[in-house]
């Protein structure tokens, strides 16, 4: 029973990571650095709450979240693909922009500096399902299938083959008639949608939007991507690993075996270790960050 509770909580924590990491893998596989994940998630969270509050349904919230994610991703694509601005700078600016914009519009929409009013989310709380309630949330299922589905998309379809070619050696793909720019645009937009769904899950699960509520989850997703070496299934495993560590930390809070701060650091430390190549080097797609 304890194991089951542990597993369920791990999955709940992992869903936003899984969705955002799926988006990030898509983006980086076509060669665009996914530093804007945090911003896309936050935009999704805000959109979800805005939509469900004013639209009266979690589904409308999800639609609004996707629209917000698409908007942010389009902005990123405009700057980096159309105008070839530096992807690192643009990614960071996107994050700052969304933090500022959500706060700004939080006050406009809900007249509060810190949080939105309560929204319903996907419900299930009153149904007597207890901790299983989470699983009445379709986003949970979407999160669980996102990375396996992405694996299928990238490794089993013509689109995926082209995407991987574009992220690795765009000039080779171009000589075979693959439209590099269009493919990258699609990758970035898909990233925006997936990451925003991660944010939407977070907000609907907590039934409100709070200021900067993603709290670095976009970067943990990025850490999972690097630690999982840009392979969807490994990335999924990394997301679950990071989430399990967090769950463990929460459940052991009373025991003080290790300071909780140290457990939080696991994803970041593992990422650096992976990049330094201490145990099998993590090598990004060759054309990552290079748009000519």
């Amino acid at each position: 029973m304890i194991m089951l509770a542990f597993l369920l909580q791990t999955i709940r924590i992992a869903i936003p990571y899984l969705l955002a990491a799926a988006g990030g893998v898509m983006s980086e596989r076509v060669g665009v650095i996914a530093l804007g994940l945090e911003g896309m998630m936050l935009a999704g969270a805000f959109g979800a709450v805005l939509g469900s509050y004013y639209g009266g349904s979690a589904w409308i919230g999800v639609l609004c979240a996707m629209a917000a994610g698409l908007f942010v991703a389009s902005l990123l694509a405009l700057c980096t693909l159309r105008f070839r601005a530096n992807q690192v700078v643009v990614g960071i600016a996107i994050n700052l922009l969304v933090i500022g914009a959500t706060r700004f519009f939080l006050r406009l929409a809900f007249d509060s500096a810190s949080n939105s009013p309560r929204v319903d989310g996907f419900g299930g709380e009153g149904s007597g399902m207890g901790v299983m309630a989470s699983f009445s949330n379709p986003l949970v299922w979407l999160g669980l299938v996102s990375l396996p589905a992405l694996w299928w998309l990238l490794w089993r379809t013509p689109f995926g083959l082209r995407a991987r070619a574009v992220g690795e050696k765009p000039e080779a793909a171009a000589t075979l008639g693959v439209h590099v720019g269009a493919l990258r645009l699609r990758g970035v937009l898909l990233c925006g949608v997936l990451a925003s769904l991660g944010g939407a899950y977070l907000a609907l699960d907590q039934h409100q939007f709070t200021d900067s509520m993603t709290a670095g989850r976009g970067f943990i997703a990025l850490a999972a991507i690097i630690f999982g070496r840009w392979m969807p299934l490994r990335v999924a495993a990394a997301c679950l690993l990071f989430a399990a560590a967090e769950t463990l930390q929460i459940q052991l809070q009373g025991f003080q075996l290790v300071p909780s701060q140290f457990v939080e650091l696991i994803p970041y430390v593992l990422t650096i270790v992976a990049l330094a190549g201490v145990v099998g080097k993590s090598v990004p797609p060759a054309a990552l960050g290079k748009v000519e």
């Binding site: 379809t157 083959l161 991987r164 070619a165 690795e168 050696k169 000039e171 080779a172 075979l176």
Partner: protein
């Protein structure tokens, strides 16, 4: 006629790459397109394969006027080009690289099994044997090339264009390639092969078109000609660069052999970027007061040799001495201080920091001589140095505060020359010193190189321009596949004599 190109011209800005070129290739023949670097061969084939549109003339394929078509149209009509540089995605498998852009599908899915089967069948049929399931990164150079050819065939090409296909192949791999090409010819395919190696031309082709300076010079049937005829048409200069006896005599008295050599290279072996041997057991010496010219087709180990001598690349074996001092283990900077000057072959990539001013570029590599102990740069000294060098080497416009990017090619090269020759040195590496430079600057640079020689410096001149090597050198070595295949006094050399060595038609003569 599979291909008929008539009166084809192509300009790039001020450069006339092709003028009034005629090329006729019969169906089912292997046609060699030969000529020196920059003769316009690749441009002509880019026009045929739809990468460029011609500025003038007419292109016909199988009797149809296709002038100005694009690559997709060319592919659809069965014309495919294998480029000199591999265009493969290293992380994908052979089959994936082949089907990319034209994937067989089953429902929404990529039909991997069919892709593999198709590729395997194609490989079997053409003799281009390679395992479709292997990752391209694991392939040898020869295998990667087979994949490139398969890629074109997979798209239905019946007219194949191969741009310098043997440049990166070892001799047995070349033999395999010939077998494959003959097999394709037997199946009725037409093949155009760009090369400047005459032994290859003779070995494989049915007919030959020679290009020089953007024009088509001659068309031969291979059976009716000799390598010497082809070489003469390729090099084509009527001027025979005979050195008179007086000059030859002057050579021997000027060259000093009593002291240590200015530059001595012994038993050098170097691996190239692809892990293959780029240089094999190379030894030579440059004496003070002599210009040793290295002739040879590019890609025969010259770049690696220069980088090893300069300290930019590690040798697997062998030593480098400058003025008698062993510098094999020294850094770039220490070699420079030991008396090495280096005009690099690519001034835009290595020789200049394009966004630095002329004055700043004039100290690159020497910056530690312009700094105080505290590390502060002495700007008065830099300015004086720059003013002086700009004047001495006639750099125009004479403003050291301009970024190097704003100068013409010739003046950019003068900046490099001023920096490397406007100081004390023992030996000078001059790599392609006049490439992309106007005529006036060429004369100036040649005069400078002769002056350095007369002042008792050793000069190692590496140039793809045979005329330049012949005009300047005291001795000439020809490099072919990482070895010196011939080393002769300049008086004994002529284009006709060296051509066979450069193209691998003759081997190993040392004086």
């Amino acid at each position: 006629m599979a291909v008929r190109m008539s009166q084809v011209s192509k300009r790039f800005g001020a450069v006339q790459a092709n003028r009034d070129v005629t090329l006729e290739v019969a169906s089912g023949e292997i046609h060699a397109l030969v000529g020196e670097n920059g003769a316009g061969k690749s441009t002509l084939m880019h026009i045929l394969s739809g990468l460029h549109a011609p500025s003038g003339g007419r292109v016909e394929v199988l009797g149809r006027d296709v002038t100005g078509w694009d690559t997709n149209a060319a592919i659809d009509a069965g014309v495919g080009m294998v480029h000199q540089h591999f265009m493969l995605v290293p992380t994908l498998t052979v089959a994936e690289n082949l089907v990319l852009g034209r994937e067989p599908t089953r429902g929404l899915q990529l039909d991997e099994a069919r892709a593999v089967a198709d590729v395997r069948a194609l490989a079997e049929r053409t003799g281009l044997r390679v395992d479709p399931t292997r990752t391209v990164a694991e392939l040898s150079v020869g295998e990667a090339q087979r994949v490139e050819i398969l890629k074109v065939l997979y798209r239905g090409a019946r007219i194949l264009i191969l741009d310098e296909p043997t440049a990166v192949l070892s001799p047995p791999e070349v033999d395999d390639l010939w077998t494959v090409l003959r097999g394709l010819r037997a199946q009725g395919d037409t093949i155009i092969i760009i090369t400047h190696k005459l032994d290859e031309v003779v070995a494989i082709s049915d007919a030959i078109t020679v290009m020089r300076d953007g024009r088509s010079i001659a068309r031969f049937a291979t059976a009716d000609t000799t390598p010497r005829d082809i070489a003469r048409a390729m090099v084509g200069r009527d001027v025979v660069l005979a050195l008179d006896v007086k000059h030859a005599a002057a050579v021997s008295s000027r060259v000093r052999t009593d002291g240590p050599a200015a530059l001595a290279v012994r038993d050098l072996s170097v691996r190239g970027d692809r892990g293959t041997r780029a240089i094999e057991q190379l030894s030579f010496a440059v004496q003070p007061g002599e210009i040793l010219g290295i002739a040879g087709v590019e890609g025969n180990g010259q770049t690696e040799l220069l980088e090893v001598i300069a300290g930019l690349r590690r040798a697997d074996r062998g030593t480098v001495h400058i003025g008698g001092q062993d510098v094999s283990l020294l850094t770039v900077r220490a070699r420079s201080d030991a008396g090495l000057s280096h005009i690099p072959e690519d001034r835009h990539r290595r020789g200049l920091v394009l966004d630095y001013t002329v004055a700043e570029n004039l100290l690159l590599g020497r910056q530690h001589h312009f700094a105080s102990k505290l590390g502060t740069l002495d700007h008065d000294k830099i300015a004086r140095h720059a003013e002086h060098q700009v004047k001495t080497f006639d750099i125009r416009p004479p403003d050291p505060s301009l970024p190097a990017r704003a100068l013409s090619g010739g003046n950019q090269q003068k900046v490099v020359i001023a920096r490397e020759m406007g100081r004390a040195f023992t030996v000078l590496l001059a790599a392609q010193p006049t490439r992309g430079v106007d005529v006036g600057a060429i004369e100036f640079i040649h005069a400078r190189l002769r002056a350095a020689r007369d002042a008792g410096k050793g000069v190692l001149l590496v140039s793809a321009d045979l005329a330049e090597v012949l005009a300047l050198s005291d001795r000439i070595a020809v490099m072919y596949e990482g070895r010196v295949v011939c080393l002769l006094a300049a008086a004994q050399c002529s284009a006709e004599r060296l051509g066979p060595f450069m193209t691998g038609a003759e081997h190993a003569v040392a004086s």
